[in-house]
Amino acid sequence: MKPFTYERARDPNEALRLVGTDGGAKYLGGGTNLVDLMRERIEAPERLVDVTRLSTEIEGKPDGGLVIGAAATNTALAAHRAIREQYPMLARAVLAGASAQIRNMATVGGNVLQRTRCIYFYDEASRCNKREPGAGCDALDGFNRMHAILGASSACIATHPSDMCVALVALDAVVHTLGVEGERSIPLVDLHRLPAGRPDIETELKPGELITKIELPPPLTKRSTYRKVRDRASYAFALVSVAAEVDVTNGKVRDARLALGGVATKPWRAWKAEEALRGQAATEPSFRAAAEAELVEAAGLRHNEFKIELAKRTLVAVLCELAGVAT
């Protein structure tokens, strides 16, 4: 690990000032991703600014929504009564991620900005356009079983690994930030970028920009869930995951919000499936049609082709569960 200095920020403005915009500093949340990447020499900041003492508050809004401080831990999110009752998909997504130890350390801000777990990104001996722009991508012809089938490019097929973000994009979460130009808000679905030709530029954030809080509008309904399919029962990243919230009235889908994880280069809002579902009968054939619509542009590689059908089936299964349709 390269040497660095450590400072703890007492408020967002101090954090912003300490981090500066020269690119030499990084915010430190729980450190569960950053410390690991620093050890692997993928990240090498000269200064760390600890932001875990900034707002950890989780507060209800008058409209029924919620505001979550960026320093709230993943555990605090899953433990919060309003989240368990009103946004079960979010509590489940958080609890499906990592381990209890890591969730106790991990912050909401750090979870949003965690980097890919692509093995070629981690392996210094491999070529990786994310790590070294222009170097090439060894995942394309490599062992790409864990990689993306949606949103990928010829430069990068790495998935975004977060479970929490999948639920948050389905819930129309908005990220609030503080930067040198002041405060702004960005829908989470627009925060992460598709890799295209520059997979090293991962988000829309400007140098030094701090995530201060995440805001959730009220849920459509309490009927929501998160299902994660993985290689072992627990403590593994997703092959495929589905976050879903469905409002079924008189046997018809009035509205739905859906997102996919484990299959895309960013937390993937399933707009096409939502569109295909609206107004349709809540039956397995219409759920299957929606899944087909979403995956129509999915592209499999040598080892991850299976994810296309797995994603469809998982989506159908989750919709059947929420709509109370027997399978």
């Binding site: 040497p3 690991d36 760390l48 009564r81 990592a98 130890q101 106790n104 403590y235």
Partner: protein, 167 residues
Amino acid sequence: MDIIINGRTIEFSVDPRTSLLDLLRDHLGLTGSKKGCNQGACGACTVLVDGERINSCLALAVQYQGRKITTVEGLARNGDLHSLQRAFIEHDGFQCGYCTPGQLCSAVAMVDEWERGLPSVVTQELAAQGIALDRDEIRERMSGNLCRCGAYNGIVEAITATFENLP
């Protein structure tokens, strides 16, 4: 910088690169906490911070100034093993013992989380008031602690035997 380890306040000064695990093992001689993977994947380094379990290998020591740390060395009281430690012996909760300090610390905090009503991903009703701590719950909640010897059945039995009679 100050840190409270197993009830004792200790003054320390380290390079910011030092992990809490290395502070414990290399600087303070508390070698109970183990280094398995050094990347958050095995749980052998699990310690408690203000009663909550974390992986000390991913924790920078400087970030934990002023906090109360409990390691496996702090579980016994006046030479008497913690009831969970005795149960691990009785129920064959280990073979080589390498993962055991992490398993013990993790289980102590796990039961606290359960008592506070924290659900897990296998909990059917997330908002339920009382969650039964059955085998599936224990396995899921302990999944951050791997055991290369595969002593899982013994570990689950030891935990069940120790905490079964909780209110």
